[in-house]
Symmetry: C2
Subunit: 250 residues, 2 copies
């Protein structure tokens, strides 16, 4: 069933849909009165709703559905800004599907791209729109927040967490295979987890040292070398598998 | 270090590099005599090699590196052909990075795209090239094989395995969370695992029934709805996490 996030006010259980949602539901999907949709309100609860009018587009809430598709941990992925325009889009879309709570980019030492300060708001808005759409498609309860930091130092200060890890190629090369698993075993329901990933070319030794000094744990993601956009997706899938599918083993 | 797969004959430990490798190493990377590269031969072993001449491009094997970056299971992903041209490319590139042994597409009931028989060879060759490049980049020992089947029946016959699973949305909706984990626990080193994924719109009940009758196990991939190209990547990351990182728990 189609799902929409709605921030509009509700009156007696009735919602006048905002323009973009009205267009998608009525014009693209050609909904008719009586058709059902899922609505996520500001409380992050999912409600079943029925179309009561198409012009103006209006739905009536039927009942809460008590559905939760959020990861048991609040996960932030903090990615060194990649080279191409396409990669941040791919990371945002896929990380949203895979349950990230927050998707952040920072200018790493080896980041080739830099976001011009006066174009940041526009770029972020575009990525946030991708996250919002992907959150609807993947039936999330939350739309992840997309954030940008001009440097690692600021990114680290702005993203404290119960556990913080950094995906480090050298860690994988040295045959490190259990740090991620150990971190996931230590985490409790509702706790926060921040994971940092390098851009193309990786993090510098200086950056990794800075993170180690801040108590951030280096983790390996297996013996194969993953591209900058693949590593956060591997990480999120691993978190989901460990915390949602292999739970009787935790 | 740069890695290349080489099928050319070796004489006294010396290899004349084929055109495309010679171009990449000598022209793109501007290698000089004495520079080192990794060479994977037909035996799937990785060797350290030194450039001995640039024109003609020639390297000399130094020693085997005894490196293995292959998953402990031989994993085939069998994907319902997606709608756009871009998605098979993305699946092939990422599934290669994530360790797939074989990446296959089949025309599912709900596949909107169909490959014209007289253009299949060309399309497959293009995807195989992506797999070959990604295998070098991710430092694999094997280049996965890219395959195409015009229907599910043929795909199933051509892909027997020690364990076969199908990612099924209904399975996830019904709250099934442990089938994948159980399958992975049952698998032994070197055994084969085939996983089937639907196209956009999913598999039909008839297709799932056909697979269940063939003993294929439905698995859920968590509570979020994953796009057709995201599901195989989630699956491969989960297999890697379970078999390469969380091994003391298996």
């Amino acid at each position: 069933m189609q799902r929409y996030f709605i921030e509009e006010p509700i009156q007696h259980g009735v919602i006048d849909l905002p323009g973009s949602v009205a267009h998608h539901l009525m014009t693209v999907l050609r909904a008719q009165p009586g058709d059902q949709v899922e609505i996520v309100l500001n409380d992050h609860q999912v409600y079943l709703a029925t179309v009561v009018a198409t012009k103006p587009a209006r739905v009536k809430l039927v009942k809460p559905l008590h559905r939760n598709s959020e990861l048991p941990f609040r996960v932030t992925v903090l990615c060194g800004l990649p080279k191409t325009k396409e990669k941040p889009k791919l990371i945002v879309q896929k990380a949203t599907e895979l349950g990230a709570d927050r998707i952040a980019f920072f200018e790493a030492t080896r980041s080739v791209s830099h976001w011009n300060p006066n174009r940041r708001a526009k770029k972020l808005a575009r990525l946030q729109k991708i996250a919002d759409g992907a959150a609807e498609q993947s039936h999330r309860n939350y739309q992840p927040q997309v954030v940008y930091y001009s440097d690692l130092h600021t990114a680290l200060i702005a993203n404290p967490a119960d556990q913080r890890v950094v995906a480090w190629e050298e860690s994988a090369k040295q045959g490190e295979t259990s740090a991620l698993h150990q971190v996931l075993t230590r985490l409790h329901l509702g706790q926060s987890l921040t994971a940092i990933f390098g851009p193309e070319g990786g993090l510098t030794n200086q950056e990794v040292k800075q993170m180690k000094n801040a108590g951030i744990i280096p983790i390996g993601l297996g013996p194969r070398i993953l591209r900058t956009e693949t590593a956060p997706l591997y990480f999120l899938a691993a978190v989901s598998y460990a915390s949602e599918l292999a739970i009787n083993q935790r």
